[in-house]
Symmetry: D2
Subunit: 345 residues, 4 copies
């Protein structure tokens, strides 16, 4: 198997490089970067340190998209900014399985996409072909997909606890979601508000309510579980490099019990190795899943109201790890191949 | 004026030491610590560095409560754990103005107190005398108080944006509050989950929903604004030393406008120098108010739903700064005396 | 007194704004920024929150250098990049006391300056006039100075423990200095290696040995104490916003005792309120002096070898605080006016 | 292969659990903790999340030393405090290869040990048997060892750059070593100075010069390279969880060139997959090797003086990773088996 990573010098691309180098089924990795083509990968990614064996075919260097096309990868990971990805990936759509980490193919409704991203989806002709790559929900579809829209980190961490529950139990009123994200979620952008001295010892909300683009993605997915959801989603930046914690408030029509929630989630996720239901016990923390592709889910019940807490590593289950999980499922590999279930210390 | 600080070696006590040393109206500061009596203050609080002049009367050392009693302070700040404070302060109740930073006198309803703290309030006989020390709301009562219950950090940061609004505009359904707090909010306790390696690069919720003791305090205050509030309050620990951000979701019966919210808050807080209404502009971040006694308040409107965002420094407006503000008001000093309006860099 | 701050939107300029607003002898503050002239200061410095009274004359806005000139400040603080400062300050040299926080006037030897900064000093004609603003050493000269070259943070923290000792006791062989600095020392520059995700959970040396520009400044000053010093200075970036710790290794010709070092420093610094000699006791840490203009000095003796440890807040004693201290001395104010001796918690 | 980890709930034990679970040659892992015997491992190590397969034989629980003895492990990792390890490991010395991460067997000279640890080595009878487990230097001896004294993190990071150079080139005068360490190096101890609020935004030296116990270990090893070394070693705590950076200053008798250093290191480490010589290029930073067992080595030359900079992950190459590397070499596995060469992002 040959895998290309387009945008291999961004955070998600860098993680993909590491995951694929250690992946038992990948023989060749093609690191693609239009701005860095020709440069040794170790020059811009000092943590790699020594040349990665699987990049030998490109002489351990970034190559251009053109070169990558000629190398005929079986699977292409696109780790590119929204609204740019679809175009750059064009040469691969008919020759490889494309796993796109941007938002370009995530939202099915063109008007909703426009509302979220300010313009038409770049390739509306491919929206039908694209499968939403939340493995725990769409495994069947992913197995046959040629284009997989890897979900955003916020939608992943929000949808996983809520989807099976909302599908089964009627809720009422708005769902109020608050999320905490590490700074790497903002990507490797030279912006003043991402400087060390701006974010260290600082935290706060941004794009609250309906303003974050991920709200539409969350609503799309949860609406499949239950019509009429109304999500108020407020993300917060907190001073950590990686990690995401989501706290979701739902009012149900009737009182739920721990057993009802636990058995519903257990049943839905019985074949999902990366879901860890901690229930009414420990409250999940982001460090629990650091470096892991796991999502830990807990909750507390207050009469008809339930507060769900879920955590992921935004760069793993929230991005690159999930992309590899999608590849594993798509190509019939073991779902956990090359991925950690256990968090680091 | 003589001021005693009981519990002067904890975080809030240490901040009080600094604030009072720089306060224009205080001549003598009595640092009290039962475990450290006799020790020079600089020995246990290296950041002080050089002896503070106002502690000359105690030879720059901690003294016992007994000694402090004999020195006849005019004002006593009690920076002690909940359920211990009332007892330790007993010798001062009739001879000094006591400003208690614990929860012992905050909750008026004995059953609600018991629910929150697991036992009867330690001095129910004094509950009538105690004034809830949220200056912006109870200034009139504070001016005459001999016992001031300094509010908790979470109730302060949650109540300030919501109180005037809920008083004026009818809301419906539950109010969902999510809070982020720096680690100093947990006090100087040797607990494993407060170790550097546990909290660095980690965040998550704790005591969600109705489980945090501050929920009762918030409900008590907001109920004065509007009967029937139902608060779901979820605090989160985030890796910073100081700072608190609160995000509150409220559904109103009718649509509000920015102008309605802004004018309501402006009117209510027109004499409140520490309230900074940033409105529909910048979203407040905790670093904006670091070291300051300010509370910054912003919001975003989504039809009938409004998301309020407020930030404080948990050790200043959330504890020691507010205690000094209470003293200022009680003794007729300038409300801002000895307190910063401006945040550090 | 009127004070202008040129470059008021950088880190050191922002700190100066706060220090001067609280300074008892300053009536008017003129915030100067060529790129932000006309903008309200609170728009770009959210932590200020409410308009600062002393900026009323500029309508609480940044003004241009031209406007500042017309306002005839008595003292001008230049918080500008090296090699730009001298030029921008030109209109003020004959009409105000200029306290320059850049390196433009620090190094007396033109060749040494060129070696460090790659070009001739921008105003060699003023080098004679400029006084090196290390108050603890040059107080007499500063009292009469019209141009004060505020020392760099590394030279300040390195020179203070060593200068009196090297003056008195003969050393031998190279002096090996290692310094740890918070990230704000690098200024508010949009560089990739200053992004949160690059510096969080990361540390390392940079410009080791003779490569950092501050080495020349340190050597200039220590050479005044004792000819022939040979300094090897290695700075390290560590993940904190503010703070600097310096560890210096010196071999002396004969064995020193704690008493010899202590009495030498005590004598030299007997009129220096910001020097805190902790000696052979506590080892100073940067948090001890956070927000303070203090320098704490400790040491350990091993035969003829001594290791000195000193800490400052790089933005206070290492920059803006020292600049205010220079103003205080120059204008005959109390040396500590408007400055904290005590560190924050 | 069966591996036991004694002290499996400390930081180094927790890392060993993860490394061995993913190690291709280990079939069974026995997690030993005297205080937690009987408790499921996931209860005290939330990041594991799901039961680790290789701990099935102990029912995924910690067991006592007694139980571990009965299970007859082939290799025993002792991750215990100094002065306790030798005693607890007693039952295994004759039946298993013991890799001891404490200092109990590192120092050969009983007087030097006493000087460093305040008492006689606990098992002087075994000192001859113990091999110092710095694989890059003692590979031959390790291959036959039954007791391996895994080196400390400071000695590892200091010795690796210096050993081959001091062996080849004559130096003169003292070697001055400054080290920066993440907080996990202090172990999982409930001490006030390891609390989040004490270490966040703080840094400073501790045990400078000759005071840190690791100095003796460093001197022992470097003395093998070259008699008469005199090391002044000053460690500093910096606010990161994991990571270690060492900056070493050496004066040589003659001028060295980059080529001389580079070829000497290349030759000495030609079979050492975890040594990454970055030379006179990039200066190594701790994040480069986070999660990796690599040591990156750089330097800068100033006439006869050279400053060496080396970085490791203190929990990997500085502890648990090196322990696994020792096992790999001892049992004839691939040296890199189960270990990362590449650092995390």
């Amino acid at each position: 198997m040959k895998a290309a990573i387009i945008g291999a010098s961004g955070y998600t691309g860098q993680i993909l490089l590491r995951l694929l180098e250690n992946h038992p089924k990948i023989k060749t990795v093609i690191p693609v970067s239009s701005t860095k083509a020709g440069t040794p990968v170790t020059d811009t990614d000092a943590a790699i340190g020594k040349p990665m064996k699987k990049t030998a075919e490109t002489d351990y260097r970034y190559v251009s998209v053109q070169t990558a096309t000629e190398m005929k990868p079986d699977v292409v990971f696109a780790a590119l900014p929204h609204l740019k990805s679809a175009e750059v990936c064009a040469p691969f759509f008919d020759n490889a399985v494309v796993i796109d980490l941007s938002a370009d193919f995530r939202i099915k409704d063109r008007n909703v996409f426009k509302e979220a991203y300010g313009q038409e989806p770049p390739r509306p002709d491919l929206l039908d072909r694209a499968v939403f790559g939340l493995v725990e929900v769409y495994k069947k579809e992913i197995k046959k997909a040629s284009l997989i829209a890897n979900p955003g980190c916020y939608p992943t961490c929000t949808t996983l606890p809520l989807y099976p529950i909302l599908k089964k139990f009627k809720h009422t009123g708005p769902i109020v979601v608050n999320a905490l994200s590490g700074i790497s979620g903002a990507g490797k952008n030279l912006k003043e508000n991402l400087m060390y001295c701006q974010r260290d010892e600082n935290c706060g909300a941004y794009n609250p309510g309906k303003l974050h683009r991920h709200t539409q993605e969350i609503e799309q997915e949860l609406n499949k579980a239950r019509c009429g959801t109304d999500i108020f989603f407020t993300p917060h930046l907190v001073p950590l490099k990686r990690g995401m914690a989501v706290t979701s408030f739902v009012s149900f029509k009737k009182e739920l019990t721990d057993e009802m929630i636990e058995s519903t989630l257990n049943r839905f996720y019985k074949n999902s190795p990366f879901i860890n239901i901690v229930g009414n016990g420990r409250i999940p923390e982001t460090a629990d899943v650091l470096g892991s592709n796991r999502c830990d889910i807990g909750w507390r019940i207050f009469g008809k109201q339930v507060i769900f807490m879920s955590v992921i590593d935004n760069l793993m289950k929230g991005a690159s790890g999930q992309a590899v999980q999608n590849m594993n499922v798509r190509f019939g590999f073991k779902e956990t191949a090359g991925l950690n279930i256990f968090g680091e210390l």
